[in-house]
Symmetry: C2
Subunit: 263 residues, 2 copies
């Protein structure tokens, strides 16, 4: 791999690098390939998670669900969900207890893994249309915020909508809106553009997940529903055990972004 | 109600007519309002149905899932799922045992109801664009066929993809394709246009559900994934008990078709 820029790696090469211990946010990696959020819960919580996703499809577009104990997915044959992400989070009773780079020792036979669409998927479409991506320009993770909008609860799961924010030059906001609307499997159109206060976000410089991203003059903050939403629900709802990706540290699948474009 | 044409009824008026005992297919009723397939199964089958839907989103776009025993839905406040459809099917061990016009006596406290998007929803968009709807012109139910394409199984549920077919004048097929692609929550773009043999359909004049619909010269048969697919899975997989709508006899919700258009 050596000096190959992350953008031109194949998904298998990227996963192999993470399996070998490399870490870091995956925005801009393996361009054109679909990245996914990971949420793995004990089987007796799987219905709650799947129903929560159905009831909150913008933040939780489900791309695949594994059988209990399975560690691979149709989205990336040969991949191992326990080792092939750059960083994980392990939760016990809703408390974050570890942030390892692999979870082989934590994995359980009753875990059901959910792979959920990620907004990194549409960044290729934005970039191709000439829309600047400030967090990539600034070599930062995307900024994510808990909002004051509750998700629709499902069974034992409840929690707030989490959004990712990208500063976009005002004349390009409409184009960004239309391009991402065509990708409902990866969050679709924004939920809001403009005043962060509308979403209950007090200070854009203090994100709840990821990094603060600097706006340039003339930029408007644009907010998309975010796949970290189920993590916020796990923290609020406290299942006995869960494993997720670390925010921004996604699972890179073999699927192509174009596969999820609906028109 | 009297002589009010079904197209101009409100959803509540249509449901009230069905509750009072009126029956018949709902194509063309309460124009602009979203119609839904009903599948109700015992709670211990709910995860299988929801996962089957996630794995087969084109035929099974889930619009709502009720809590066990609940008989109403956020899609139509005040409606009663046991009485407000024009006709039902009751299954025991995968066998069709009754086709009543209400199911109050059959309903159980452990039933979870799934409301699944219906292709009638996009017929308004086709009609508005000048695309003729032959089954409505001919006062027939839409024609539906089991195909030779298996759905991706989920738990105990497996079965074939079922499609609805509309004959469309050849020069308008592309427009129909593009218009419905924008409605992924109600089956989206067609799965096929042209030779029925590609889907293993031997004779268009002998549909598996609904009525045969006559093609006019120059028409091409266009096939969309159909919300009867979960019924075919119930028949193939034989849960101990299930209630569904009768094919073509849908639940008319208060939601508007436009709500499901993604761009």
């Amino acid at each position: 791999m050596g000096t190959t820029p992350p953008a031109s790696l194949t998904p298998a090469e990227a996963r192999s690098a993470f399996r070998a211990g490399r870490s870091g946010p995956t925005a801009g990696w393996a361009t054109g390939h679909t990245q996914a959020n990971l949420v793995a819960v004990p089987a007796d919580w799987a219905y709650d998670v799947l129903l929560f996703a159905q009831r909150n499809p913008k933040p939780c577009p489900v791309l695949d669900v594994t059988e209990p104990g399975e560690t691979s997915t149709v989205l990336a044959p040969g991949a191992d969900l326990r080792t092939d992400l750059p960083r994980y989070r392990v939760y016990r009773d809703g408390q974050l207890t570890a942030e390892p780079t692999e979870v082989t020792d934590w994995w359980r036979e009753d875990l059901v893994a959910f792979l959920i669409g990620c907004s990194f998927t549409f960044e290729g479409a934005l970039d191709a249309a000439g829309i600047p991506l400030r967090h990539i320009e600034q070599s930062r993770n995307v900024a994510m915020y808990r909002t004051n909008r509750p998700c629709r609860p499902a069974g034992r799961l409840h929690g707030p909508l989490v959004v990712s924010m990208r500063p976009i030059p005002a004349p390009l906001v409409d184009l960004a809106w239309r391009l991402t609307a065509l990708l409902p499997a990866v969050h679709g159109a924004p939920v809001h553009a403009g005043d962060p206060g509308e979403l209950g976000i007090k200070d854009l410089d203090v994100p709840d997940y990821g990094d603060a991203v600097r706006q340039l003059p003339g930029d408007i903050p644009v907010f998309w529903a975010c796949g970290v939403t189920p993590q916020a629900a796990l923290a609020a709802s406290a299942p006995p055990f869960a494993i997720t990706h670390a925010p921004g540290h996604m699972f890179i699948t073999d699927a192509r972004d174009a596969d999820y474009r609906i028109a």
